[in-house]
Symmetry: C2
Subunit: 435 residues, 2 copies
């Protein structure tokens, strides 16, 4: 339609849709075409749709626009989305565009870019509604009427004192029912939960989740209100954090956007871990090498290596899953370490004994050799118990030394356990079979 010069028809068609749907619709087009459509849509739909595009696409689109259009578009984005885009721009492009942006917004950008990735400051927006506690409800309503059109996400009204220190909160809906002459200070909820700008985003999620907050206020060390993290960003943070956790946990490196990323780049993320884990595999090989004479004497020993290794690796993976996830959701914490340790010893023994009985029976039926069956059974109960405890304890240790507990991943634990399991198994065999 654009090519036929029917711009108005395009605009009218798209205008009926939600910014997200428009973004989905135009994302696959060429950057110059996206650029034309965004400008065509005007304010606020153009910027709203634009900021729903992936940052990489935003960067490409910006570079096909005139500089003044660039600046206008960036000015109309939400503060948090804007900063993400500025961070992603090539330096020379940013330097060309920034001087054209209004001074106040430029100062705000300069302040927001300083927050490190993964902190509350890096995901907050500065578009919040705050009123003075000295106002009456009627006065606060007047103030809100003035700022409401510019605030996309106005649900809670925060109350600040003269030095902008956060002192309370009022729900928007309460403004309808509160008497208009009441003092804000008297009717506000003074027990307002907040996070520090340098707090980890996981803390933001925890506060939002525990207290069912629609937005979490972000303050500086002096308690001054700096911004808010809104419910939609809380959901985004949860999803991103979990993706990161699962990637670490699956030893898959860092998360990249799958479809647009080329296979070489995808492979690079995975291959490092794979080589590292292969190195551990070589150690297992060395151990088999050392026990060569034993294994060739009683070859049946070799037959049980896969099942013992698998049981150890899987039991370790199970325990680490439970603890890694528990730490992420706050279901368990470091202070429960001792309880977890004892509990996993018991759990490990229970599942170890069950699996050992199965293994020993299988050993007896297959080889009709009671000593071999005993070896397999003893090895399995020891390996599974050890694996369960290690799988549970390793994430706790990682957390303690401030590493991501999820890095104590399934593959890592399984590889290390292969080595341990082989030694345990073959030493038990040496003893029981008198080798």
């Amino acid at each position: 339609m654009l090519e036929e010069g029917r711009s108005v028809a395009v605009r009218d068609f798209l205008s009926e849709h939600d910014p997200y749907d428009i973004a989905e619709f135009i994302a696959e087009l060429e950057p110059p075409v996206i650029s034309r459509i965004v400008l065509l849509l005007g304010d606020p739909l153009g910027p709203d749709a634009f900021q729903k595009l992936d940052t990489e696409v935003q960067v490409e689109v910006l570079q096909t626009m005139e500089r003044p259009d660039n600046a206008r578009l960036i000015e109309r984005m939400d503060p948090d989305e804007r900063v993400d885009l500025i961070k992603a721009l090539p330096e020379e492009v940013a330097e060309r565009i920034l001087p054209m942006i209004a001074q106040a917004k430029r100062n705000e950008i300069a302040r927001l870019v300083t927050y490190e990735e993964g902190t509350a400051g890096s995901v907050m927006t500065t578009e919040y509604a705050a009123v003075s506690g000295d106002l009456t409800i009627g006065g606060a309503l007047g103030e809100l009427r003035r700022i409401a059109p510019d605030r996309d996400t106005l649900y809670n009204v925060y109350v600040v004192d003269n030095s902008r220190k956060l002192v309370g909160v009022i729900l928007l809906k309460d403004l309808f029912v509160l008497p208009s002459l009441a003092s804000v200070k008297d009717v506000m909820k003074a027990d307002v939960k907040s996070v520090h700008a340098t707090s980890h985003v996981e803390e933001v999620v925890r506060v939002a989740k525990d207290y069912d907050l629609v937005s979490v206020p972000v303050v500086d060390t002096g308690g001054k209100l700096l911004g808010i993290v809104t419910h939609d960003d809380v959901v985004d943070v949860v999803v991103e954090e979990t993706t990161e956790d699962m990637y670490h946990y699956g030893a898959a490196g860092e998360h990249l956007r799958y479809l647009p990323t080329n296979p070489f780049r995808l492979a690079r993320e995975r291959v490092v871990w794979l080589i590292l884990l292969a190195a551990v595999g070589f150690v297992s090989g060395m151990i088999i090498h050392r026990y060569e004479s034993m294994i060739t004497t009683v070859f049946a020993l070799a037959i049980f290596i896969p099942v013992i290794n698998a049981s150890g690796g899987n039991a370790g993976t199970q325990a680490s899953t439970v603890i890694i996830r528990g730490l992420a959701t706050g279901e368990v914490s470091l202070s429960d370490s001792l309880r977890i340790f004892w509990k996993e010893i018991v759990v490990g023994l229970i599942i170890g004994i069950v699996v050992a009985v199965v293994g020993a029976l299988r050993g007896y039926v297959l080889e009709n050799n009671i000593r071999l069956a005993l070896t397999v059974g003893l090895a399995m109960v020891s390996v599974v118990t050890f694996a369960t405890v290690l799988g549970a304890v390793l994430p706790l240790i990682f957390k303690k030394v401030k590493l991501d507990p999820a890095v104590a991943s399934g593959p890592l634990i399984a590889s290390v356990l292969d080595v341990v399991a082989l030694i345990i198994y073959l030493e038990i065999a040496r003893f029981v079979l008198h080798l």
Copy 2:
């Protein structure tokens, strides 16, 4: 303090806190004590704190109360929390309490309990604000003033027609700025996103996340508004769904609350998978058994079994992590299957070649045997490529047949790959080493 009869002091102390904090504080006390405190706190703080307790604790506390108190407490809970509790009550307790609950709420409970776990209907609340499109903004405000005190989560005002069909939405903040004589129909946003009551909760999350909704309206097949899922429940759903995914993915069974659950129950969840995976391990053992003469002839072959198995298992785990997570977040979908398939063949070949070079070099250095090195290299590139493709494709197949893709877990894929890797490796050895 309670024991000293200082009830008023207890109430005054707790009243200053948030319901979540109160619940955290009283959760460890004995049920009869919790019961006394909840009643002492009165309405709304008592029910608010009570519904923040774990459902298991709620059930215990209820049974220490008089029946009329029970009914009053349950009536004052949020509709979604209330239904969760009713579902958890022993049948005879529910039958004793339900008749004392007001007829309207009882009908609502009867309707809500019918929604299956995991559907939008099962997590929605019926405490939403809806107005008729025929009203003016001033009329709608009057209506809201009437219902606002009873609605904890009033952020969006939904617009319905005479048959309660959902036709639009107005943001609460817009009510401040819209002219009071304007017709609701004329100023509402008519493109309102909703989900069906029987939709999966993942769909609710997707809609909330894509469109940044503070609440997602839930409708029946006729488009009639039934309830809303609020932002806090969206976050809860995301966290719970992810926990479930990770447990499946780690072959750890179903999620149980870790600290309060006894080790036998925890062990039961894990042991089933472990035995299943051990059975696959036995198959690997059988394969080693079949190739016994080959392995005893060239024992060096055995030395590389762990590293080849580990590389296959890890490459498969990596690929499945990427695809399982991609499916969960909507980054990839079933319609991308063919693209994923080709991409993972390329990724698998790249990482396979890198790992194979490392493996072959190691083989050559260790045994000074060029044919063995060739065997190891060829086996590694085949196994890793196969593992990568299988790891990516299996979750897609599971999704296609409507199983949870995460059940194509790391341990499951790794175990199956052990079997395949052994056969590939030993057949290549037979060919290259002329065995």
